[in-house]
Amino acid sequence: MTPPDRPRSTPAAIHVRGLSQELRHASDNKILQVTRMVDMLPERGPADLLLEPVRARLAMLRPVRPMTRLRLLLTPADPVLVPAKSWHPDALTLPRSIIAPLVSLIAPTPEDVRGLNGQVPGDVSDGAALTRLGAPLWADTARRLTERDLPAAWSSREWQAQHGLTVTVLAPLLRALRLLLEQAVTLRQMPTLSDAPLEASLAEVLAAGSAAGPLGWGVMLAMVLGTCRAELVMPIMQRFMRDQRLAGPYAAGLEKAAKEMLDRIEDRIDAILPEAPLDAALASERIALAEKVGGFNRLDQRPPEEQRRTSRLRLKLIETNHALFERSLRARLLPPVGTAVMPATGDPGARDETVHTLEAEAQHLRGLAIAAKRLGDGERYERLLQEAAARYAAPPRAESLPLVDRMRLVELFAGPEAAWAMRPPAP
């Protein structure tokens, strides 16, 4: 397959590229400001390209962004949508450069385009609510993509140069996107347990994927591996392939999907962590990563190269998570002796707030320790948690944390029995 030409450089594109390069070196605050401004534009067009070089940083910053109908439409494809310049034709991903042609296909009038840029009402921060809002839009768009042929004008050199895509490349990409939209609800509601419902849902999406050609099949496998635990779904996928006698490009698709999943995991492990102590979002991201790596690590009958890579990733994650854990623990819950964790204030509200923060951090840390144990790295965490428990069980004289609050922290660090042992003797 021939890679498409790079998009043609118009003066506007050159200007955007310049600004974009500046943004690459901007502070977090500046990036968030520019993101807010781009989000407020009625029609984003090239302004959206501004954010291209900072998408990885945006993912770490997690700004709250308004949900437009277009963003809702693309949600099912989010895990496999990549910047155009990092996409290559053999990958099980879709370049973001398909968005403009997609919009012109499904929204032929300016009014339709305005509709796509309109904000979606309702709760979109929640997965189930978002599925409910998106389901009709995904089904409708998939139907439109089935009904509409690609315009003849898209075969022109000018159109292809402008969009960086040839029709030969674009057509299977749009078919893969259509498949994702058709299967979006099933994929998003995939049961997470190893039971009959998981097998039934998985069989449905695998059947749809296998009927869509090698790219659709591979993208579907990539989505499934991104959604579910590898150790649960891999055997089901392998069984499906055996039963359906899928080989050749389909077998290669499974290996490629696994490799790309590990690529994504590695990118996330290598991402620079924020300086701030562990918060709820970061804790759940690191726990999810540990689950993913652990899932691959528990697979047997996988190619030796993949097994070696999984072992490497496991060790790397173990080290980064442990460093994050120790830094966060010592930042507030286990500061140097002589530093009180409770501020010297008579304000009960401030004291409640401090206790609340300490408990929340202890919960995140305990969660990370549990995930580490499942990765085979429990001992170092336990030692640190025991150190923290000992500190709260017999605090320095200056520490003014009440007994029950200390018992609750010890419970999180070392379990309820250790906390129960701290109770004062009966009178």
Partner: protein, 369 residues
């Protein structure tokens, strides 16, 4: 395990017996998610705990606390609460609630719960005085007396005057009025509502939202009998149980209001048989047991995902009593927590959610809103 635990299948537990239905126990407001829906009962032996669906099957296990603790992993709060319940000669919703309030007051369920428990404690004396004062006012009105015409002491003078009219000792009337105020305190009056009225209002507010979600789930997943959608079925049953509980509670409340509207007759009845006079309140308390946790958990779940995840758990709180149909299709049978694959991190976050809900449950004791 079988030598220590007594397994009593749901089909056997609620079967009507000549001496009445089996005791379904009282829901204990534990905070560990593994203890969701666990109920306690006590007759002659030590406290028995009824554990739903311990191993993922249908039915109920009956176990003593040491076994419950070993199997489920209670929180520090739960250990303290179980210790307090073990010291109680009887268990009723009111007794379990009071012991749980004291444990929360000490801070074992977190600072927010401790604050709400303290507010509840502070409002009890004032609310009892209000209820008692209301009864006295009605009695004065019925006797054609006016408080303004009585001697200066506003607390004792009306009681003395009424006692004189009915030929009782003032201390005797004072004791009966105090007993009535204690017995009816958890209900309060229409003008000074207390916990059970607040809970009934909450249930009435939550029901439409639950029915709406059930209709949407049915719409999303269809009603194909061949491919039933379990959460949708469970929610239908939960909403139906809630509607039924609201109707029954309203019926109880009408009777209680009629009783409170005639304090003369109530005083006579209470003096003759205090337990029988207060029976409608106890019955209403039993009926509402667990619905506070169902409704507050539902309200606390800010997202559709959270609500869906809660559906099987909520079924255990109130509707999860041993079921007359023996746990057939559509009955509450959630997957056991220890086998959800969610891992310990999820359990920690669920415990935190339970503590939030616990604080809201305690707020029902005082919150006038």
């Amino acid at each position: 395990m079988s030598s220590i635990l007594t397994r009593s299948w749901a089909a056997d537990v609620p079967a009507p017996r000549p001496d009445g239905p089996a005791d379904p126990g009282v829901l204990v407001p534990f905070t560990a998610p593994q203890l969701s829906g666990v109920r306690a009962r006590r007759h002659d032996a030590p406290v028995e705990y009824l554990l739903p669906n311990l191993a993922g099957g249908r039915g109920t296990y009956v176990a003593p606390w040491p076994m419950v603790a070993e199997l489920t992993g209670p929180s520090l709060h739960d250990i303290v609460l179980a210790q307090r319940l073990a010291a109680q000669p009887l268990l009723s919703p009111a007794i379990v609630r009071e012991q749980a309030r004291l444990v929360a007051l000490e801070g074992y369920a977190g600072r927010a719960a401790a604050l709400e428990a303290a507010r509840g404690r502070d409002s009890i004396a004032a609310d009892a005085a209000t209820l008692r004062g209301g009864l006295v006012s009605v009695l004065l009105h019925r006797a054609g007396l006016d408080r303004r015409g009585l001697p200066a002491d506003p607390q004792t003078a009306p009681v003395r005057e009424i006692a004189r009219l009915i030929g009782w000792e003032p201390s005797q009337l004072d004791g009966v009025l105090g007993g009535i105020a204690d017995a009816f305190l958890s209900v309060g009056t229409a003008s000074a509502p207390r916990r059970m009225r607040r809970l009934l209002r909450l249930m009435t507010e939550v029901l439409p939202s639950m029915e709406e979600e059930q209709a949407r789930l049915s719409h999303d997943h269809g009603t194909d009998a061949a491919r039933p959608h379990l959460p949708s079925q469970l929610l239908r049953r939960l909403a139906s149980d809630l509607a039924q509980a609201i109707a029954q509670a309203n019926s109880f409340l009408s009777g209680i209001d009629r009783t409170l509207a005639d304090p003369g007759m109530l005083i006579d009845f209470f003096r003759t048989d205090a337990i029988a006079a207060a029976a409608p309140v106890a019955a209403m308390d039993n009926l509402l047991d667990g619905w506070d946790r169902v409704c507050l958990s539902w309200q606390h779940a800010g997202t559709v995902s959270e609500r869906h995840a809660l559906i099987p758990i909520m079924g255990l709180y109130a509707g999860g009593r041993p079921q007359p149909d023996g746990g057939g299709k559509g009955s509450y049978a959630p997957p056991p927590f220890l086998d959800t694959g969610q891992g310990g991190a999820a359990l920690i976050s669920m415990r935190s959610r339970n503590e939030h809900v616990r604080a809201r449950e305690l707020a029902l004791d005082h919150d006038p809103s």
